[in-house]
């Protein structure tokens, strides 16, 4: 009888932990004051040479505060729970678990598992679940579970799609490593690297204090003052910011997407990848809003492209890319897309702007070049006496002229790569946005709105801009510019978009 009672208590405990997040989450529920108290307490303990009595006597208020914060965090952790059945999952979240969210598996668009290096050491995993509802910034459900529980829940979600019969064979696509390197080289951005560095630096300085910030600024001033003999300090600062941010972004992209592999099973796609932080994504193919083949001009010349998919929840985090095929040759992409998404549309009834609209495409880059030229001339005429400002402006003009000329070339090329096509319920939109060429493919049913706009200059030549809104958690608009108005209206009537 006693043994039976013991077993029941052990089983209850096991059951309790099976429906709770990983205990590491307790530290997630403490505030930053926990660490602001803990670090000085630890330092004091070392200073008194581990004399516990003295430590307790002198710092009892801080220790008590720390215990209260930890107890509150533990209670919050204990109140948050989850469970799942064959068709749905229930999560109790919020303060003391008062928020009860029930999500049916058939409504889930994507789910992801993330294991950072630290999480792998403590055998925990973050699972994020998304539906078409909710915001576009955060996942609908976000839990930190033990690796075993996370994998079980992930399999329960993904098996719901896999079990539906599918006439097509199972497919796998693995990204070649050299292409991954090219992908990171092409798609790293200074801004994302700078944001990552800034957020890490802010968190570190919150806990370690002002000294870290001061040391870093001191080092930076030393380096820039050494190099200021050859290059102006302002230009050096900008160059370090741009170069440093890009390098951080490049390394992060490479580490996050190494070993990128894509599997198609039934109505689901599973994407895995990453070295330091391992990721696994489940995507419900039926919930993919559109595919987006992206190319820069250089990529067009070398016939390579990147394929992104827009599915609610996929690629939401800053560190994630929403790529189905990060980078590959055009032929490889077409064959892989047929295998992964079973789309085999080759011919579309197209509507494109006429070639004599080229002047409209290149108008803005030419204006930009004229403005830069005027500033250069004014600089030479008015600022020749102020050497420092003159040099800074000279460098800036050189730096800005190159992308402006490149923009002119890209916009001139985009005349040949702007159109909208329709074939048996499928729409294909090709357009250019700044330096990137997009090819969007989607079903007519996933288009929520079509809008024709005309400014006063376009009215004269009877041209218009067609805006296509696709289904998304936020507004997603695709612009096809300088189309003939009458032909656009006919196209919308024929494709069934006129009612929108």
């Amino acid at each position: 009888m006693k043994n039976a009672k013991k077993k029941t208590a052990r089983e209850s405990l096991k059951d309790f932990f099976a429906h709770r997040q990983h205990p590491i989450k307790i530290f997630g529920y403490t505030t930053k004051y926990f660490y602001l108290l803990l670090i000085p307490l630890a330092k004091y303990l070392i200073a008194v040479k581990f004399d516990i009595n003295s430590w307790l006597r002198d710092r009892w208020v801080d220790i008590l505060t720390l215990l209260v914060i930890f107890a509150y965090a533990t209670i919050r952790w204990a109140c948050v729970s989850f469970s799942y059945e064959k068709n749905f999952l229930i999560a109790k979240t919020g303060f003391f678990g008062i928020k009860r969210t029930k999500i049916y598996f058939n409504k889930i668009t994507s789910a992801s598992l993330e294991e950072s290096l630290f999480m792998r050491l403590i055998k925990s995993c973050r699972i994020c679940v998304d539906t078409p509802a909710g915001g576009d910034k955060n996942s609908d459900l976000n839990l930190v579970l033990s690796k075993k529980n996370a994998e079980l829940l992930f399999n329960a979600i993904s098996i719901h799609s896999k079990k539906h019969s599918c006439p097509y064979p199972k497919t796998q696509y693995k990204q070649r490593k050299i292409y991954m390197l090219i992908f990171s080289l092409l798609f790293s951005s200074t801004l994302s690297g700078a944001i990552l560095f800034a957020s890490l630096f802010y968190k570190a300085s919150n806990y370690l204090g002002q000294s870290l910030e001061n040391k870093l600024l001191e080092q930076f001033s030393t380096i820039t003052s050494m190099l200021s003999k050859y290059v102006p300090t302002a230009v050096m600062t900008i160059a370090v910011f741009i170069g440093g941010g890009w390098i951080i972004s490049f390394v992060t992209n490479l580490l996050n997407n190494w070993n990128f592999t894509c599997f198609r099973r039934g109505k689901s796609i599973t994407i895995t990848g990453g070295i330091l932080s391992k990721r696994k994504h489940f995507i419900n193919v039926q919930k993919i809003n559109y595919t987006d083949m992206q190319q820069s001009l250089l990529m067009k010349i070398f016939k390579i492209c990147s394929v992104r998919i827009h599915c609610p929840g996929f690629g939401k985090k800053r560190s994630e890319i929403d790529a189905l095929i990060p980078i590959s040759t055009m032929e490889d992409v077409k064959n892989t897309m047929k295998l992964l998404l079973f789309n085999s549309q080759s011919s579309y009834t197209k509507l494109a702007p006429s070639k004599n609209q080229t002047k409209r495409f290149i108008f803005l880059p030419i204006v930009l070049l004229i403005v830069l030229t005027i500033i250069s001339v004014l600089r030479k005429l008015l600022l020749s006496k102020f050497t420092n400002i003159n040099n800074i402006l000279l460098y800036l003009m050189v730096v800005l002229f190159i992308p402006a000329v490149w923009l002119l070339i890209v916009k001139a090329t985009s005349v040949y790569y702007t159109d909208i096509g329709y074939n048996e319920g499928r729409i294909r939109i090709r357009y250019n946005y700044i330096y990137t060429f997009h090819t969007i493919e989607t079903d007519v049913e996933r288009i929520t709105k079509a809008e024709i706009t005309q400014n006063i200059f376009q009215e004269k030549d009877n041209v218009c801009t067609l805006k296509i809104y696709t289904r998304a958690e936020n507004n997603k608009i695709h612009f096809i510019r300088f189309l003939d108005l009458k032909k656009t209206e006919d196209f919308l009537k024929n494709s069934g978009l006129w009612e929108l």
Binding site: N87, G94, F96, I98, K99, R100, T101, K102, I103, Y104, N106, K107, T131, P132, A133, G134, D140, Q286, K287, P312, D443, E445, R446, R471, E473
Partner: protein
């Protein structure tokens, strides 16, 4: 379409809670702000006028103007005090539900149900415990149905 109204138990609970809170704040003001009589009476007047305005003017009007309509095809919410707003959502576009039942929600009636759909959500407040269960059960039947998109 079945109509649900906010539970008046919640209104009584809020009135009671605000009255008790006003008494406590009243006492604290008398104890700690007695050095400045004008400031003390300003705070006391503020607490009691907020209690009277919310408990006996604003919330009763809100409760009488609000209803939630649940049918197989649409969910409707009508609410407001100074201006009335009406929200309608297709049942087809529902993605999931979140029910918020605080401690003693069964007795206070201060329960909330959020219906999440693509593009927005409908928040139903001051539902009784029985109503929140009934509405959840009705809406879940529609959510469970598979949709093409």
């Amino acid at each position: 379409m079945k109509k649900y109204c906010p539970c008046y138990q919640a209104l009584n609970f809020i009135r009671l809670f605000m009255t008790l809170a006003s008494f406590v704040l009243n006492y604290l003001s008398l104890k700690f702000l007695s050095f400045n009589i004008v400031l003390m009476w300003c705070f006391i007047a503020l607490f009691w006028s907020a209690t009277i305005f919310l408990g006996f003017i604003y919330l009763p009007i809100y409760f009488s103007n609000t209803y939630y309509g649940i049918s197989k095809t649409f969910i409707t919410k009508k609410s407001g005090v100074f201006y009335i707003s009406k929200q309608t959502m297709r049942s087809q576009s529902m993605a999931f539900l979140t029910a918020i039942v605080p401690p003693f929600g069964k007795y206070t009636g201060c329960n909330m149900l959020i219906v999440h759909a693509m593009g927005g959500n409908i928040i139903m407040v001051f539902l009784s415990y029985e109503d929140i269960n009934e509405i959840s059960a009705t809406l879940e039947k529609e959510i469970k149905k598979p949709t093409k998109i």
